[in-house]
Symmetry: C2
Subunit: 574 residues, 2 copies
């Protein structure tokens, strides 16, 4: 199975490569690399890790996804949301900056890899359904605010102790705002200004100047590179780090990562497992949404289970070079596609460029001010803030709006992991409540034919002794009690009823709890002199009922092919 | 609202009392008291509490339920399952036998009371649906084994330290079996013998002897009283506690309980809240099942939300006398009914008898051997073991059988609380999986009429340019992705399709995640030149869609009253 997926993915990739795609792939690969170098380092810092870890993770992830993925333009590597989840998961159990902290991050990549590969092989991609639209929206908004807030200290140059709670962080910054390092702040604000200008205005200015659109996108994406180079030069040439105490990145080790084995310690694994699960789901949902959106644009298809598998292997790869969890990046994938990439070769080109950067250029990052990286992150996460969805949800469904609010508030007040869990919990409860009242239809005979329909919607003939009911849903532990209550209620109010016929034409499954409830219903009806009949049950539902003797219990003469047959057997019609 | 419930319940009770019920009520009240005195003490010990706490809790609970409950024969008080949950919840945070431990138990009663009252007032009794049949069965089997196992030390007279894990308990007993106190064991085994004989054989023996059935039930229920009296006399007269070191109950304080206030400490409340939730659900489900089963027998009705409310107030009452959580007892309620009780007066009579016992007779319990109480518990929980359900589930549905197994194994291996949580988790996942593939029906026109039905089941006319689809379910975050995939799959394989019509006749609700997916589907179909139509949507679904501008987005000319209208508008028929 595993080999089969690997083999198919790789072959389909090589066999179908067209040389005319090469230019686009190279261009896409280069632009993404230009974005990824600063982002990789910035997100690693956000996760509480040394900057080079972000780059190491990217190289392997890009190569592995390039070989195994099903999306042609998805760009894998460190992303903001997952980096925050890594920090949230590890910081309560290990000190930021410690060797242990890094080891735990590597274990997280391993666990995420294992979980995603298993989910891919087991084809349980449906589990992402747990994350409903309101939960995702509440979560992402909270994440954007928390990440943005966490960068304020770098932007302002305020030194502060590590804190787990977002409100404590904000409180600390507000009470220590007087310790702001203004040189740091100005460098940061100018960086933000450049980034925003490149993003919003530059494109149309260049267009007015008559530049060909093919160059515009690449040029607008060079802003991070420009501010990194200018910021670094500024600090290096004028010794800002010495004179004004501007914080810099410092030593980034030179050379390719070495082979690393994650620590094998069941207690550590157990501690990190919940975080790993949440990262697996969130990372998968982010990747698949981006991949799908871009595939649709080009009328291509992606295979969700193959995506899970490829992402999982990419994470396992990251583990082996001492990296941390990776996923498909929204911004970089979109840029990759817009720059003309049309196959996964562009991912591999990006990986090669990052490797070259690590081998040759890391000493150049020594003087890079961290406030510049903070500016890059703040501008990136600002786009995640979405006020429209909460507004729409409030108009559309108060229940869903409350799910969103609970996810959002819990994320900010306690932490993003608890936020997402609380959101899932509330949406499941809401779903249980919404599905606990199935649609129950009393049917009657239409004209003199064999068709029986809703007595409320059609002109039908009914018989007072017969209650024929169609349920428009499968029967589960969540909804059968209501069915039982309703039937008992109707039969109690209409003592003339002698036969109850349950019509199974829309019942695809009866779970064991529902079966238990049906058994109770039959016994209760029996005590009040009402006979229980089944009609129009589907074949495999019948097989199951047969196996546990349910059919025998209600009597085989109480089982009918159709309602019409039942009415004939009961001699109401002939 | 609260007063209204109280008032209605009380009035309906007093107004409708018939004097001819009095004898039955008195007899029921006496027999239940005879059972409850030993059970109340035994279950309190099982919960890790002094024996009198079980009796205190019973008195108030019986009186309050007698005034407010909706079942006529339910007998509330301490029960085995809840006692075990109390021990499981408190023992990790307080030492058994400490003052703190008792205080925590009182807080639990308070929290359970608050939760149940709130659930009753909010009418969210549907939340018990979370506990599916397999989870309850796995849980109860595990509980029976754990409770039985926990009594072995009393039965064998082995002294052992407290342990949280069941397997450690069994391991300890097995490795210390040589320290068995044989006099204790013999008293215990004889007690079990008497209990089993009274329960199984005595009834038919008395019947053969020609005794009137009206006396048989009361007599067979006196076994606990008989063994308690004999056991106590034996130990007291021959100083078995001194000579053979047979453990006895010791001092039970004389006199009615005094008014107690629970401790108010947010940290303690927070720690106990999860346990309180689980107890609230389990206690409610036990009460309601018993109450319903007995009500059906007499064609009476119980009101689930009133039950929740009454149980909640009973727990709050237990709090005020320093008691611990109470619930409806299966065995005592059944005996109450069988002894002839037909109104809630019998509960009040039981309460009075227990109060008299506490005031006058507690010194008599001094020499009561704990092995006798262990015997009573072991015989009681033996009935809870049910091997038939697991077998049936395995035949009926492997998924449900696995839910049961996971609940059972987790309960034994880690603890009953984790077991029930794991069970809920697995059943919800299973439900999500089962409901993630909704039934999708392609419809065609029947004859020349206006009715459109499943093309696979009826002879219909269809048009290659039109795909008309009926979904037999409401649309939720759990199932819409599948719908989207299916439609995209069909339209990709049949490029001649120009119109997709979604028929909403079975759609009662579209949640916001599903709406989001429908929006995506519409955009994706649009890109491939397929127009998106809605037909036969229900009024309130339409209202919601209107509010968020969804109808405008797809174009009001794409919305049709029925499929037939749609076909006419699209000029396929005239």
């Amino acid at each position: 199975m595993k080999c089969n997926i690997l083999y198919r993915a790789f072959l389909s990739w090589v066999r179908t490569y067209h040389l005319q795609d090469l230019i686009g792939d190279i261009l896409g690969g280069i632009i993404v690399a230009i974005m990824l170098v600063p982002q990789g380092m910035a997100y690693a810092l956000l996760a509480g890790l040394p900057p080079e870890v972000g780059l190491y993770s990217s190289i392997v992830a890009l190569i592995i996804y390039g070989l195994l993925g099903s999306s042609r333009v998805l760009s894998v590597g460190p992303v903001a949301v997952v980096s925050l989840l890594v920090a949230t998961g590890i910081s309560p159990v290990a000190k930021t900056g410690s060797a242990e902290y890094l080891e735990y991050a590597i274990v997280l990549a391993l666990l995420v890899g294992i979980i995603q590969v298993m989910m891919g092989l087991a084809r349980v991609g449906f589990l992402v359904n747990f994350l409903s639209h309101p939960v995702i929206s509440g979560f992402i908004n909270a994440v954007a605010i928390i990440i943005g807030g966490s960068q304020l200290k770098h932007l302002l140059g305020i030194e502060m102790p590590h804190t787990e709670y977002f409100y404590l962080l904000i409180l600390y910054i507000l009470t220590h705002i007087s310790t702001t390092n203004f040189v740091t702040l100005i460098i940061g604000l100018v960086s933000i200004g450049v980034l925003v200008y490149f993003k919003t205005k530059l494109g149309s200015s260049l267009e007015i100047m008559g530049l060909s659109p093919i160059f515009i996108t690449p040029i607008t994406k060079t802003a991070p590179l420009i501010i990194i180079i200018s910021g670094t030069l500024l600090v290096a040439l004028f010794d800002f780090n010495q004179i004004f105490d501007v914080k810099i990145v410092g030593n980034v080790p030179i050379g390719l990562p070495s082979f690393t084995l994650p620590i094998i310690d069941i207690d550590v694994w157990k501690t990190l497992l919940p975080t790993a699960f949440i990262i697996s789901l969130v990372s998968y949902i982010e990747s698949v949404s981006v991949a799908e959106a871009l595939a649709i644009k080009r009328r291509q298809k992606i295979n969700p289970n193959q995506e899970l598998f490829a992402l999982g292997i990419a994470n396992l790869g990251a583990t082996l070079v001492g990296g941390y969890p990776v996923t498909g990046s929204f911004s970089r994938s979109a840029v990759n596609e817009a720059s003309g990439a049309s196959t996964r070769l562009s991912s591999i080109i990006t990986a090669i460029l990052i490797a070259i950067t690590i081998v040759l250029f890391t000493p150049l990052f020594y003087y890079l001010p961290t406030t510049v990286l903070a500016a890059i992150i703040i501008v990136a996460v600002y786009d995640l803030i979405d006020i429209e969805t909460p507004k729409q949800l409030w108009i559309y469904s108060k229940g869903d709006a409350i799910s969103l609010a609970i996810t959002f508030i819990t994320s900010l007040a306690i932490g993003v992991e608890m936020g997402i869990l609380a959101g899932i919990f509330v949406s499941v409860i809401l779903l249980m409540w919404r599905t606990s009242h199935p649609h129950i239809v009393i049917v009657g005979r239409i004209g003199q034919g064999q068709i029986y329909r809703n007595v409320k919607r059609y002109q039908t003939t009914t018989y007072p002794e017969v209650l024929a009911v169609r349920v428009d849903t499968s029967l589960y532990f969540t909804n059968t009690r209501y069915l039982e209550d309703q039937i008992l209620h109707i039969t109690a109010n209409r003592p003339e009823i002698k036969h109850f016929i349950l019509i199974g034409s829309a019942i695809n499954f009866i779970d064991s709890s529902a079966l238990d409830t049906l058994g109770n219903l039959q016994r209760r009806l029996d005590r009040t002199g009402v006979e229980f009949h089944l009609a129009g049950m589907k074949g495999d539902v019948m097989d199951r009922l047969e196996r546990v003797g349910f059919l025998k219990k209600i009597g085989t003469d109480h089982i009918h092919l159709t309602v019409h047959e039942a009415m004939k057997t009961l001699n109401f019609i002939n």
